[in-house]
């Protein structure tokens, strides 16, 4: 099954690529619309700010492509936030593929960014957490977050409860970095590669 990692012109695509390679998958890194459309699975990574990342996606003319995909798509960290409708980070409209909004994390005095290993709790049907004993620790680095709502499939607490995984149809998002989350993260990426048609229709 072919995997394309969308080249969003942000640094740090390597660690996502290496994580899949450790699972025996050979990902293609591309910003080419045709390559992305023809992929079996698509990963949307992202570091930096929502505003800069959305600007890059527009410049690369990838907004329509990313919005019309039918195969499983996984947004990681900022990539997950880009799948939502809007981000408070720069007050920017995002891709709007998952009906949720990204807001500043209210940590109630705890250090920010929220950095380190925190527990991910399953919420509802979450095929990406198959075979994982939840709550499970995953690695987070972020200052903005999605508030829990109907699209939430996992939650995490840091001053407030936020959505650490979200999903709408074939679009999935993880606020943490599965590529840097040890055995748990590797299992999540493996589960993503093994998603069935039934999983993405559910």
């Amino acid at each position: 099954m072919s995997l394309v990692i969308v080249d969003t012109s942000c640094a740090n695509l390597s660690s996502v690529k290496f994580a899949f390679e450790r699972l025996g998958v050979q990902p293609v890194i591309s910003a080419d619309a045709t390559v992305i459309r023809n992929a079996g699975k698509v990963v949307l990574p992202g570091v930096g700010t929502a505003k800069a990342a959305m600007r890059n996606l527009r410049q690369l003319e990838l907004v329509d492509t990313l919005s019309s995909l039918e195969q499983p798509v996984l947004g990681i960290c900022l990539g997950m936030q880009l799948l939502t409708e809007w981000s408070a980070e720069g007050d920017v409209d995002c891709l709007g593929l998952i009906p949720a909004r990204t807001v500043a994390l209210e940590s109630q005095g705890r250090p920010l960014p929220h950095m380190g290993w925190n527990t991910v709790n399953e919420a509802g049907h979450n095929p990406l957490l198959r075979g994982i004993q939840a709550p499970a620790y995953c690695y987070f680095v972020h200052s903005y977050a999605v508030a829990p709502d109907i699209t939430t499939i996992a939650t995490t607490d840091y001053g407030q409860r936020f959505a650490s995984m979200i999903r709408s149809k074939n679009y999935f998002g993880a606020q943490f970095h599965p590529e840097r989350s040890g055995a748990v993260g590797a299992q999540i990426l493996k589960n993503f590669m093994e998603l069935s048609d039934a999983d993405t229709r559910a």
Partner: protein, 266 residues
């Protein structure tokens, strides 16, 4: 609950891991990659690779191993050592480093912090601070070029003053190395870390002084730091990470103990 982080630090010189006592007389511990993988498998939450010679010799950290580490381990890691430009940082991040840590070059050119944060985001910019307690004046003073004893020198900054400045400039995390304690294994500098914690709204990592598991428990409990960094106690197996984590967990400190087996390759 956010777990406290246990962070082995691998001081790198000429492609090997070394450790000195109070930054002197570096002894060779071993090769980088096997040690990195060993720590990842043993339960380390994060790794720091610090080229201790880079800043003082005006050369950049040898980078070829960064990508090899990124390919091999599945926990976050930071690279430090002589990073003084956007281009150097970009290359390290592109090879798979999660964060870069800047120390002496930021003291020379504080605006470097702003430029790095603007370019790559706060989340991957760590500032390392080497702080020496001067008993005579009773003040905490920032030192630079500490990788080489002959070049190590004090700066014009007091530690609290520099800490506040780097935070204003956008640093995403602070590693505070308490030089008086480094390598002597008498425990972290709780008093200093407590004082800096009170004025540090970003994650704070304690460094310098770990000699046994109780020292970790003390620094988390008393100084409320986000993570504790250590080198020799891990390299010499004086502290075994799994046992340390079991002790911290039993003491009621939030810690990651992974019950999930590694994913199998199909």
């Amino acid at each position: 609950m956010l777990a406290r982080r246990i962070i082995p630090c691998l001081d790198v010189r000429d492609g090997q891991v070394v450790k000195g006592v109070q930054f002197r007389n570096h002894e060779i511990i071993g090769d980088i990659e096997p040690l990195a993988e060993r720590y990842a498998l043993a339960g380390a939450d994060e790794l720091v690779f610090y080229d201790i010679t880079a800043s003082s010799d005006s050369r950049v950290v040898d980078k070829s191993w960064v990508e090899r580490i990124a390919r091999r381990i599945d926990i976050p890691f930071t690279v430090a050592g002589g990073i003084s430009s956007i281009e150097q940082a970009r290359e390290l991040l592109a090879m798979g480093a999660d964060k870069i840590s800047v120390n002496s070059p930021a003291l020379r050119d504080p605006d470097l912090i702003n430029r790095l944060v603007d370019e790559f985001g706060q989340q991957c910019i760590v500032i390392g601070i080497d702080s020496f307690f001067d008993a005579e004046s009773g003040r905490y003073l920032v030192y630079q070029f500490t990788g080489d004893e002959s070049k190590s020198q004090r700066t014009r900054y007091e530690t609290a003053e520099w800490l506040q400045q780097v935070i204003e400039r956008g640093a995403g995390e602070i590693v505070l190395n308490c030089m008086n304690q480094d390598g002597v294994r008498q425990g972290y500098d709780i008093e200093q870390l407590k004082a800096m914690r009170a004025i540090c709204p970003v994650p704070l990592i304690a460094s310098g002084g770990a000699g046994n598991a109780d020292h970790f428990e003390q620094v988390f409990r008393q100084a409320n730091v986000d993570g504790a960094l250590a080198a020799s106690v891990f390299h010499k197996n004086t502290v075994v990470i799994a046992e340390l984590k079991a002790q911290l967990h039993a003491a009621g400190i939030a810690i990651r103990q992974d019950q999930n087996a590694p994913a199998q390759v199909k």
